[in-house]
Amino acid sequence: MRLHPLDRKLLRDLWHLRGQVLAIGLVIASGVGLLVMSLTSLEALRDTSAAYYERYRFADVFAQVKRAPESLAARIAAIDGVQSVETRVVRSAVLDVRGFDEPVMGQLVSVPENGEPLLNRLALRAGRYPQSGKPDEVVLSEPFALAHGLGPGDHLRAVMNGRWRNLVVVGVALSPEYVYTMGPGALMPDDRRYGVLWMGRETLQAAYDLDGAFNEVSASLLRGTNPERVVDAMDRLLDRYGSRGAYPRADQASHWFLTNEIDQLETMARFLPTVFLAVAAFLTNMVVARLVAVERPEIGLLKAFGYGNAAIGWHYVKFVLVIGTVGTLLGWFFGYWLGLYSTTMYADFYRFPFLLFRPSAGPFLLAAGASVGAALLGAIGAVRRAAALSPAAAMQPPAPPLFRRNRLPLPRRLLERLDQPTRIVLRQTSRWPLRSLVTSMGIAMSVAVLIVSMQWLDAIHRIVDVYFLQAQGQDVTVGLVEARSNAAVRELARMPGVMAVEPMRTVAAKLRFGPRVVRDAVQGVPSHQSLYRVYDAQGTALDLPAEGLVISTVLADRLAVRPGDTITVEVLEGRRPVLEIPVVATFETYIGRPAYIDIEALNRAMHEPPSVTSVHLRVDPMYETRLYRELKQMPQVSAVNLRSAAVTTFNETLAKTMLIYVGFFIVFSATLACGVTYNAARIALAERARELATMRVLGFSRREIEYILIGEIGLLTVVALPLGAGIGWLLARWLVRAFQTELYRVPFVVEPSTFGWAILGGFLATLASVLLVRRRLDRLDLIAVLKTRE
C-alpha cells in the first residue's frame, strides 16, 4: 500500500520531532494513567465489595439488644420489606494468645451449629465451621489469625462471662461484615489486638445465659425497600429489649469505612487527571503552532498546488491524533497496571476473599476521549491558522517579530547594565507572554502536585501529634462490658503500675434537632481532664462547662445546630431518658464527630448513680506486662486500647498507602515538569537555531549560547517555582476540604520542608530536560545559517 505523500511527510515529521512527541505523550499518559487507575480501582472496589456482599449475603439492617426472645425473630421477619432475618449472639471477650502479653480483644459471633449462617456468611480460607457438640471450636478472622500465626489446630484462651475457656481453632475465615475490622474505641484496624471469633450458637448462648434468646439481629431486605422504614419498625419492636437503635448497612462500621475510601478515590479521579490533561493540551498547542509556523512555505506550496483548507487542516489534526494516541496507549498500559496494583493493595488491606478486577471499557474510553480531546482542543487554533493562510502569504517568510525596548519591569539603570545575551533572554520571554506563562504554569503545576501529595504526610504527622500525642495523656483505655459504678475506677486505680485514672461514660443516643437525626454517642468526661483531654484542631485544650454539650463542628453541621440551640438527646440505654440539652460550644476536631458533656452532668441527667463505661489509665512502663496480665483476668473488661499501639497502627496503616501514592505523584510530577520544559526548550531551540548559530559564527562559544537557551527556561523556572508553591498551597487547601469525611478531616498543614522538597523536585526535573536539549546545541549547522533566510 503506497502512502500518500502527505502521510509520508507526517511520519517523517513525527520521527523528526520524536523527542517532543514522546514528552507530550508522557504528559498525556500521566493524565490518562491516573484517570484509568482511579476509575478502574473504583470500579474494582465497587464490583468486588458488591459481589462480596452479594455472595456472602451481607445483611441490610442490624440491631443490637440486651436480650430478646427468639420468637421476636418471626415478628421482625414479618415487617414489610424484610426478606430474611437471622438472630445471633455477639459478645466481646478478652483473649489470651500465647506469646503475646498485651491484652487482645475479641468479638465472639455465633454461627449455626449445623450449616452455614443465613446472612453474613463466612468465606472460609482454611478449615471448617465449628461442629455441633464441640463447644470449644472457633473460626478465627483471617487478619487476626495471620497476625498471630494461628491456624486450624492451634489453641487460644478467652474469658467468656468471667471464666477462661480453652479454644481450638478449626477454621480461618473472612466476612463481609468485617472488611474493616476495628475494635471498640480504635481508629484503625489492629489485627494483633482485635479479632473476630465465630463459635457455635448454642455454645455462646450457654456461656452468656441467652438460651432461647439473642442479642443481635440482622435482616436482609427485598429489593427496593427503604431501609429507614425497616429500621423504624425494628426500633419499635426492639426498644423494650434494650436496643441501642437499629441501623442500616450504610451506618455499619466496616461498610462505612469502605464507602469513605471509595468517595475519596472518586475525588482524586476528578481532580488530578484534569490537571495533566490541561497541561497536555497547552503543550500540544505549542508544538503544533510551532510546526505550522516553520512549515508556512510548504503549506503555501500545497495550497498553490490545489490542496484545500480541509486537507491541510486534516493533516495537522492527524499529527495531533498521533500524539494523543501515543499518550493514550501509554496511559492505558500504565493505568491498567497501576489500577491492578492499587486494587490488589486495597484487596489486601480490606481483606477481600477475592478480587474482581474486570475493568470495563468505560474508564479507558473516557480517558482516551479526554486526552485526545484535550490535545485537539489545544491544537485547534494552530490548525485553523494553518488552514487559513493564503498561498502567497504563506510562501513569504514571516516578518521578524517586532520587539519593544524597555518593556521589562526593571529599573532603567539595571536595564542599561545588562549584557546582550541577557537582554535577548529577557526580551524573548516577555515578547510572548502567553507562551512563557504556559511554560511557567506547567512547571508550577508539577511543583503544586508535589506539594499536594506530600502535604498528606504533613497532615498525618499533625493528626498524630494533636490527636494522639498532645490530647491523649493516658497510656491505656479500659472499656467495660457495661456501665459500672465508680468503684470500678477505684479498683483499676489499685492495679499494679497505675499512676492515674480518669473516668469516661459513653451512652448511645439519637441526637435530634428539628427534622435531623444522628445516631451516635455522647461522651461524658470530667470538665477538667488531665489524661484524655478534649483538644480542638488548633491544639487548644477545652474545659467543659458544668452543663451543656460541646460538640464537634462536623456533628453541628449534620444537625444544623449552633451554640445556644438545644438538641434532643434520646438515650438508647439504661432508663432511655429523652433529654433536652443545650449546645454550649462547638469545636473543630480531626477525627470522628464527638459530642462531650461533663460526666457528672450526664450522670445526673440519666437519673442513675454515677457510672463509667471506660477508664483512662496512666501506667508506669515497668508494670505494663503485669497490668496486662491482670486486665486479662477481669471479666468486666470489654476492651483494652493502648495509645502507643494506636499510634503505631495509625502510622503503619496510613503510611503504607500514603507513601505509595506519594511515590506515584512524584513520578507524575516529574513527567509534567520534564514534558513541559523539554518541549519549551526544543521549541526555543528550533526557533532560535538560526540566531544561535549566527552567534557561534560571530565567535560566541558553546557555553555562551547555552546561556541564552537555558537562560530563558531558567527564568521561567525561577518564576514558576514560587508560583507553584502558591498554587500547591491553594490546591492542597481545596483538596483538604474535598477529602473531608465524617470519619476524619485532614488538617491543612504544609511544612516548610514540604515546600523545599517540592521546589527542589521541580527544579531537578527541569534541569534534567534542559541538559537533554543542551546536547543539541552542539549540532547546530553553522554553514546552513549563512545561506538560509529567516
Binding site: R405, R423, R690, T694, G699
Partner: protein, 242 residues
C-alpha cells in the same frame, strides 16, 4: 596558482592545495580541488563564480566555519586546519568579521545592541555607536530589525562585523537579497569601512559588476581558481549598476 603581490605585503590568509569533499548519501562532491591562495593585508578581493563553484566553501574554511579535507589554510601563523572547535571559535571571535547574505541580525536586539553583542566579547572593539555611524546609521541606533529596511539591516550587519576591528572581513553575497540601488549603498558602506580601517576584505559574489570595486578578482569554477586578475583601478561603488 599564486600571484606574487607587489612590494613586501604580508599574507593575512593563505591556502595551499586546499581541498574539500562532501560525502552525500549517493557519492562525493568535490567542492574544492587543490586551491592555492594568498590574501594580502589591507587588500579588497572578490571571489567571483557561479553557484557551485566553491567560493562559499573556500570562504567558510578561511573563516573557520568548516574544515578542509586536504591541504592547509593559514591565518597569519595559525594553521586553521589543525585547530579544534574552541580555537576556531576564538579565531572567529577575535580576528574575523562576517557579513551574511540574509543579514542574520538578532531580531530581539536593536541595531545598537546587535553591534554591542559583538563588542562585548571583543578584545579591542570600537564603540557600537561609532561603528553604526561609520555605515551611516547614526540616527537608527535604537531601532529593531523589524523596523529597518533590508539595506539598513545589512549595514547594521556590516557595522557589527567591523566593530571588533577584525583583521579580516568576509562578506558572503552581501547584496544578494537587495535591489541594485540598495545594494550599491551597502557596497559603499563596505568600501568606506575598507578605506577607513584598512581591513582585509573578501567579497563573494556571482555578480561580475561588483568585481570592479576590488583590488583583485579571483574567478572560481569547478572547485579551482580558474583565473586571477588585478584591477588597475578600483571603481567606486556608487558607479556600479546592475
Amino acid at each position: 596558482m599564486v600571484m606574487a603581490a607587489p612590494g613586501t605585503q604580508r599574507a593575512v590568509l593563505r591556502a595551499r592545495n586546499l581541498g574539500k569533499v562532501y560525502r552525500t548519501g549517493e557519492g562525493e562532491v568535490h567542492a574544492l580541488r587543490g586551491v592555492d591562495l594568498d590574501l594580502w593585508a589591507g587588500e579588497m578581493a572578490v571571489l567571483l563564480g557561479p553557484s557551485g563553484s566553491g567560493k562559499s566553501t573556500l570562504l567558510n574554511i578561511l573563516g573557520g566555519l568548516d574544515s578542509a579535507t586536504s591541504g592547509e589554510a593559514w591565518f597569519e601563523d595559525h594553521d586553521l586546519t589543525r585547530q579544534d572547535d574552541r580555537d576556531l571559535t576564538r579565531y572567529r571571535r577575535e580576528h574575523v568579521g562576517f557579513v551574511f547574505q540574509f543579514y542574520n541580525l538578532i531580531s530581539s536586539l536593536t541595531a545598537f545592541e546587535n553591534v554591542a553583542l559583538v563588542t562585548e566579547i571583543a578584545t579591542r572593539p570600537m564603540e557600537p555607536g561609532a561603528a553604526l555611524r561609520l555605515v551611516g546609521l547614526g540616527e537608527r541606533l535604537h531601532h529593531f530589525p523589524a523596523q529597518l529596511s533590508g539595506g539598513e539591516q545589512q549595514r547594521v550587519a556590516i557595522a557589527r562585523a567591523i566593530a571588533k576591528q577584525p583583521e579580516v572581513l568576509l562578506c558572503d553575497e552581501p547584496t544578494g537579497a537587495l535591489d541594485s540601488q540598495t545594494g550599491v549603498l551597502v557596497l559603499e558602506a563596505i568600501e568606506s569601512i575598507h578605506r577607513e580601517l584598512g581591513t582585509t576584505t573578501v567579497l563573494i559574489t556571482h555578480n561580475a559588476v561588483i568585481a570592479d570595486m576590488a583590488d583583485r578578482v579571483l574567478v572560481l569554477g569547478d572547485g579551482r581558481i580558474q583565473q586571477e586578475r588585478r584591477n588597475p583601478q578600483r571603481r567606486p561603488a556608487r558607479e556600479l549598476a546592475w
